[in-house]
């Protein structure tokens, strides 16, 4: 009886709870069925006018202060204006917009890189003596033209002639053939064969964007050499050497790394990580320039008065530290084109923000490293080395900027700032190679460090993973790149410039050098109203000069 008395209310309560909880569940489960039963809205046919109206002509005539009437369906180009905008028109417009964004991004960043020439010119001229200002400036000025011409004739074709499939720029499909040899069971791409003079099918909008962007990178490599050989390089030899580098040396290595050549295929052919990875060119641009500067500096020898008979070196300070540091800032600004621009687009490549932050951090820690080193060792924060430290950090982050996080960027930059100080002293005092602006250390040594750092610090976010994140094979690929830079690029540069030395003569005469190259080589002084103080030449340093 007792059980009966409480079980009845319980039963009723259970029914009520079931109704409350179960009804919505039943309703939910039945909802898709009812939706499925309803007829799906018909998608508009691809060529049917959408019938979407934008602001009227009267609305637009009244002005658009709030910006809500500009950029509407009225701005979508209709293939048949009488018919109106169709779905096909919208799809085509979306594709066109994506490529347009990427074109504009790549072109504007290319313009920034072009402006780096001004930075190189001021850095190098400021670090040279006033009597060579015109000559140094004119090398930096004309390297742009010589390099561009050589690259247009054949350099671009050798580098990118087989690089078709750049989807982010619409394909660049006319660049369709890479010359390769079959060796050890693998194809080894050596150079491209399409795009000489940008003629034929390479008269193409996408190819032109790629040409401009790659050209300014090539010119950056060329202008590095003028710093290493400054104050004693015969102008005619500089002209020939620059054409050779823009036409052959740079494009060949750039093809191997970026144009579909064998270095980039080390991953697919030998399982070495993602293949040689050099995002924006620590190796392709800076190490090639720095190593060529080493080859040319060795061939032409040191400036008169740089070394004494016992091999000890004399400091030859530059004439204007103000324009040196101004040039460093110009270069740091241009680097925002160099690294983030190397995505070749902004639409579909939003990592440009990370790359830009990595770039600025590494430059910053690079200047810290050099400043600290000089301050601790010599008691003063040396201005020119702080500038070189900034550039060293930027050079080093160029290859890994697309693959590392901000902590990695800071470490890479700081190490570069310290390395550049050691390298300048080693090259000056141990190797006795005269490098007036530190080009070999900043670009050569730290270009190599940048290439290696990809194999160490790449975090795997963008398809490349280094040793510290679990993939030692990437480091092997990077070291093969280093060996290629030191072995192949140096040898090619050395042999080519030795031939130029025999044919043209690389070094200016001792009399011209002592007078300063402005008048003998260029015919005009850089600073005609300055009174130039003759530089004392240490006893014995003139021995053997002609």
């Amino acid at each position: 009886m007792t059980r009966c008395t409480w079980s009845k209310p319980c039963l009723w309560a259970a029914v009520v709870v079931l109704c409350i909880c179960g009804l919505p569940a039943w309703a939910q489960s039945s909802a898709p069925a009812s939706a499925a039963a309803a007829p799906a809205p018909a998608a508009p046919a691809i060529n049917t006018p959408l019938g979407v109206a934008g602001p009227s002509a009267n609305d637009l005539a009244a002005g658009d202060a709030s910006g809500t009437k500009t950029g509407t369906v009225n701005d979508v180009v209709a293939s048949d204006p009488a018919k109106g905008v169709t779905l096909a028109d919208l799809v085509n417009q979306a594709g066109q917009n994506r490529i347009a964004i990427n074109f504009v991004w790549t072109l504007v960043t290319g313009f920034l890189v072009m402006f780096m020439q001004a930075g190189f010119a001021t850095v190098e001229t400021g670090l040279c003596r006033a009597k060579n200002a015109n000559h140094t400036m004119m090398m930096n000025f004309m390297v742009y033209g010589f390099g561009l011409f050589a690259y247009w004739v054949c350099g671009f074709a050798i580098q990118m002639g087989g690089a078709a499939g750049v989807s982010i720029l619409g394909g660049a499909n006319p660049l369709s053939h890479e010359f390769a040899i079959h060796l050890l069971g693998k194809d080894w791409g050596l150079w491209g064969t399409k795009g000489f003079f940008l003629a034929g099918p390479t008269y193409d909008v996408g190819v032109m964007v790629l040409f401009l962007f790659e050209m300014v990178f090539m010119d950056t490599a060329l202008t590095i050499v003028t710093g290493g050989a400054a104050e004693r390089w015969k102008y005619a030899a500089f002209c020939v050497s620059s054409v050779f580098m823009g036409a052959i040396t740079y494009p060949v290595y750039a093809n191997w790394a970026w144009g579909g050549g064998w270095l980039s295929k080390l991953g697919t052919n030998y399982g070495l990580g993602a293949g040689y990875a050099d995002f924006a060119g620590s190796g392709v641009v800076h190490a090639v320039g720095g190593i060529t500067a080493l080859a040319v500096s060795m061939i032409i020898g040191p400036r008169i008065g740089k070394y004494n008979r016992d091999g000890s070196s004399n400091a030859m300070p530059g004439h204007d530290i103000v324009i040196v540091l101004l040039g460093c800032f110009i270069l740091a600004f241009g680097w925002f084109g160099f690294n983030p621009g190397s995505t070749l687009g902004a639409s579909g490549a939003l990592r440009i923000s990370t790359i830009a932050v990595d770039t600025m951090l590494a430059g910053c820690t690079g200047s810290f490293g050099a400043l600290l080193f000089m301050w601790l060792k010599y008691g003063k924060p040396d201005a020119s080395m702080a500038g070189n430290g900034l550039l060293a950090g930027l050079v080093a982050i160029t290859a890994p900027s697309g693959y590392v996080n901000t902590m990695g960027a800071c470490i890479i930059g700081f190490v570069a700032g310290v390395v550049v100080c050691f390298s300048v002293e080693f090259i000056d005092r141990v190797l006795c190679v005269d490098d007036p602006v530190g080009a070999i250390s900043v670009h050569g040594t730290n270009g190599l460090w940048g290439v290696i750092s990809v194999g160490l610090f790449a975090d795997g976010t963008n398809g490349v993973k280094g040793l510290f994140y679990g993939d030692p094979t990437q480091l092997v690929a990077q070291l093969i790149g280093v060996a290629t830079l030191c072995g192949f690029v140096f040898s090619l540069s050395y042999i080519g410039n030795t031939i130029i030395d025999v044919v043209v003569g690389q070094r200016s005469s001792a009399a011209d050098e002592l007078e300063g190259l402005d008048i003998p080589e260029m015919g005009a002084l850089g600073y005609p109203e300055f009174v130039l103080k003759p530089q004392p030449v240490p006893a014995g340093a003139m021995a053997g000069s002609k």
């Binding site: 050890l184 070495l272 190797l431 040898s491």
Partner: protein, 60 residues
């Protein structure tokens, strides 16, 4: 001496490039690659540069 220096530079490069074909072990490839770089640097800095220094303008 200069020719020997250039030869060593190229030899070191070829050694490094051949490494991945010689062995499939990552350690082995790393070693061969570093060996190649060492040969190259010896050729450039040890042999070629010394040959240039022998005829340096400040030594004449």
């Amino acid at each position: 001496m200069k020719i020997l220096g250039v030869f060593l530079a190229l030899l070191g490069w070829i050694v490094a490039v051949m490494g991945p074909s010689v062995t499939s072990s990552t350690g082995g490839r790393l070693f061969i690659c570093l060996l190649g770089i060492a040969i190259t640097l010896t050729g450039i800095l040890g042999v070629l540069n010394k040959a240039h220094l022998k005829e340096a303008i400040w030594k004449r």
